[in-house]
Symmetry: C2
DNA sequence: ACTATATCATAAGTAAATCTAATGAAGGCT
DNA sequence: AGCCTTCATTAGATTTACTTATGATATAGT
């Protein structure tokens, strides 16, 4: 592989080592004449003789020694490069770099990695949890092959693959009055102490609209910018919230939270996978994408 | 000058720096198409894309970054080489490396350097004083451009340029009986305490033959392998000797030695300059050789 | 010293590569 | 959407690189 770059250097090095043009030519699969012409051309370009032809076996001139050193260094450096490149190629084929928002990454990645590992054992999945805008950035700047986001924004040079729409339910602490009910209708939420998302988060705007359209007024007791914190606050009894049910899985099992279905069919969180439009994904990444959305 | 080697690396580096194939092509005096084809060929050989074409300005891929690093290192190394080469070329044109036996070097080089310096001010003369066999070695191995020796041996791949034949005279200490005489004839030497050369030195064999042919028996009191030591021994009054007159110059002026002409026209020390037959001497060296033998 | 042998240099013709000019495709900006 | 710039592609021309054949030269062996 290192053979395809710096072939001139390799030839020179071989001539020096073999002390013979004809043998070096053989080693490089060319004729003796070609080797001679190569070296002569080189000498002409450098404007100085590199070999001492007056003696046999062929000896180096002072300038030749300098050039031989150059070739040695260059070839050594090229080998390092080739090794690094091979390693990179290999890992590029095998590793899938994923950037995900916290809520999806925390609740889904463990499962996905495990299940995908079974059908594609060679792959290595590297997950990075980021704020939503950083997920877009990571994908656009080729820091990640795939990005997991909610409420996808369509952008030029970004392909958005819709994954699913998550049902939103009421998240309450175990001692709340709703617990035990089959379902909650929007009106029931009126006046409830509510843990909301920060205003710049899209899901907050969606919920605000839902409350407005349902003519419900809630009492926001806290604003947080991520699901994880909201779940904590709810569990501590500060209020209730509305969250994608799937993101509560762990807390529901631990009985730290209770999820009560909410009659609001329009309230769903769309989740999607993004990747750069132009970039051709590695086989592993393509398989993974197929596997996830299947 | 660095431009004639590793042109591919330079092009790549320029493309990276300019973030543009067309501008890099201009910088390298080729068409945009040629630059594109170059990079594409490179990518094909490496089996991986180096540039990210899906965005403008052109960005590097991970592999491209690796290759750019390689190019940077190679070009830097090549620059060092070029600088070293230029320096070498320059000095090769200016410096004359001389290997000389002690007797010639000590007595003549100061004068030659000074006089030659006037007619060829650019030259730098490097003199190395060595035993005779080392002088041959130095010249044959291209450690020296010119070699100064006595009693030249003709060898294959060595050009011998006769310089002069030095008159040999009797070297005596100031209190010796010969001092004041116009001339000494061989017979006068009979029975004299004599400081001789070691037996392997050519000059010794020449003198032995001279004594034999003159039917003279001398009394060797000391054997030394170089003229310098013999002069010392004579000056200290251990005996007399026969030496090339010119090599005694300094001691004669200091009146530490006295030189008495010897009637022996055949007794002359030939001195010659040698150089490698094939090697073309630098202009400085050629001028110097001409100057010396003129 | 002379010849034999191996190796390098050179020449001429051919194959291969590289280059240019022209044109097509695509990104990014207004 | 349309314009402008830049890159990709193609085909043909030019240059370069290679091969084979032959000549020159250094070294070794007689």
């Amino acid at each position: 592989m290192a053979e395809v770059i710096f072939a001139d250097c390799k030839l020179f090095r071989d001539v020096v080592h073999a002390k013979s043009l004809s043998r070096a030519a053989q080693l490089n699969g060319i004729s003796q004449s070609a080797a001679t012409q190569h070296i002569q051309d080189l000498e002409k370009r450098l404007g100085i003789e590199l070999f001492d032809r007056s003696t046999r076996p062929l000896g180096l001139t002072t300038a030749g020694k300098l050039y031989a050193d150059l070739c040695r260094d260059v070839l050594r450096r090229a080998e390092d490069f080739t090794a690094a490149l091979e390693e990179m190629k290999d890992s590029a084929e095998r590793v899938i770099r994923i950037a995900s928002i916290y809520s999806i990454g925390l609740s889904e990645m463990g499962r996905l990695r495990e299940e995908f590992g079974k059908i594609f054992p060679g792959a290595a999945i590297h997950v990075q949890l980021l704020r939503p805008d950083k997920v877009y950035e990571a994908v656009l700047e080729d820091q990640a092959d795939l990005g997991f986001i909610s409420y996808p924004e369509h952008r030029r040079d970004l392909t958005v693959v819709p994954w699913r729409e998550e049902r939103m339910t009421v998240a309450a602490y175990p001692s709340h009055a709703f617990v035990g009910r089959e379902m909650v209708v929007p009106r029931d939420l009126h006046g409830e102490a509510f843990i909301a998302f920060d205003e710049e988060v899209i899901i907050r705007r969606e919920l605000d609209r839902f409350f407005r359209e349902s003519d419900v007024e809630i009492s926001i007791v806290m604003q947080l910018d991520n699901i994880q914190s909201i779940k904590e606050a709810v569990a501590l009894g500060s209020g209730i919230s509305i969250l994608p049910e799937r993101t509560m899985q762990a807390e529901l099992e631990q009985r730290r939270l209770v999820s009560i279905p909410l009659h609001a069919p329009e309230l769903r969180r769309p989740v999607a996978i993004i990747h750069r439009k132009k970039k051709k994904l590695s086989r592993a990444a393509r398989e993974f994408l197929q596997f996830v959305i299947a």
